[in-house]
Symmetry: C2
Subunit: 216 residues, 2 copies
């Protein structure tokens, strides 16, 4: 695997996110369970490293969504589900922070989700994990806020597993080394406020933590 | 200005696009004139260089949208409109190719525009132009299909001028050298089909042309 994948924080040219990939989360937001993966993008300017400070934008009601991140290791397009795992360099634990009020308004107006999903620090992410450190379809995702567990779910409950996500995305846009895919969040999403302390983990494998401030 | 801006094709980490920035185009699609710029992203995997072949995705009704592209020259966030032009490295002529049927369905369902806007080759773009080669608020954009002019509009008709766009975007996400901003399209958008030949220009300054094939 190329060094650029391990160094994804500096080199990734896209972050592709999957929405509604856990039935319980789709339902908690009142959304239909999708027939194919819902895709959107965050810009690489959204990355925040372990230990960093989340900046809540003014007038935003930001929600935490803990997710398994896939780091892509080689270039491909129109990849079959059978071949998809060969394109994985590694994994990380991540948050898909979402300005829920702005997203809700965008959805109602048929407008893009970009502003709700793409603000600076909206993609806090842990360190690179080698592929063999994680079982992508049997790892527990945990998000705790101020020491209280808010989200706890296992990747075995994904609607579309990692191999299907990689295949599907690669039919919509080419994948390149260091590209990052966020694979959706289990239920339990909720607010993140200035002063909070957020801890996320792939249980028993990797953890990362973040303080929260205001983007004054 | 850093070399990476001139080399944006290889180095850009985001492409920020502005929708509905010309009143006549907003109206031709039956959309409201927005109170603030509508923003969405294309991934850098969407770039196509001058002379390349546009690949129309299966089941997609792709439309041409000729636009002025801004190439960012230095890092910034929360830039004031007064300072905004200092962040411009140069310009290019570009197409924001759009799978209109997929976008229309996404809008109706409140889903992201990403698949409609982000397919490979959906951002054909001309060569880097130095800042002093272009008057960003008085240049004529032209798009011709098979020798027939389909779009012809002047950037003086932008709803939000370049300085306001840069300022607005930089309040939503940081800008970095080589980032590309597509500034919206004048009226006259229409279909692009396999076998077509597309020519786009900043009249009297720069031109680029593309063949069209099928993404079989
Ligand atoms: Mg989007
Ligand atoms: Mg999510
Ligand atoms: Mg456009």
């Amino acid at each position: 695997m190329p060094a650029e994948a391990r160094n994804f924080f500096q080199t990734a040219r896209k972050i592709v996110c999957v929405g509604r990939n856990y039935v319980a989360h789709a339902k908690e937001l009142g959304n239909e369970v999708p027939k194919e993966p819902v895709l959107f993008l965050k810009p690489p300017s959204a990355f925040l490293e372990n230990g960093g400070k989340i900046l809540v934008p003014q007038d935003a009601e930001v929600h935490h969504e803990v997710e398994l991140a896939i780091i892509i290791g080689k270039s491909g397009r129109k990849i079959s589900p059978d071949a998809a795992m060969d394109y994985v360099a590694g994994y990380a634990v991540a948050l898909d922070l979402t300005s829920r009020n702005i997203q809700t308004e965008a959805k109602a107006k048929g407008l893009p989700w970009t502003v709700a999903k793409g603000f600076d620090t909206s993609c806090p992410i842990g360190s690179f994990l080698e592929k063999d450190q994680v079982d992508p379809q049997d790892v527990t995702l945990v998000c705790a806020v101020n020491g209280q567990v808010r989200q706890r779910g296992n990747t075995k409950d994904m609607l579309f597993p990692v191999s299907v996500l990689i295949s599907h995305i690669s039919h919509k846009m080419s994948l390149s080394p260091a590209d990052v895919i966020l694979t959706g969040t289990p239920s339990g999403v909720g607010p993140v406020k200035p002063g909070d302390f957020i801890e996320i983990s792939l249980e028993g494998v990797s953890r990362a933590s973040f303080s929260v401030g205001e983007d004054a």
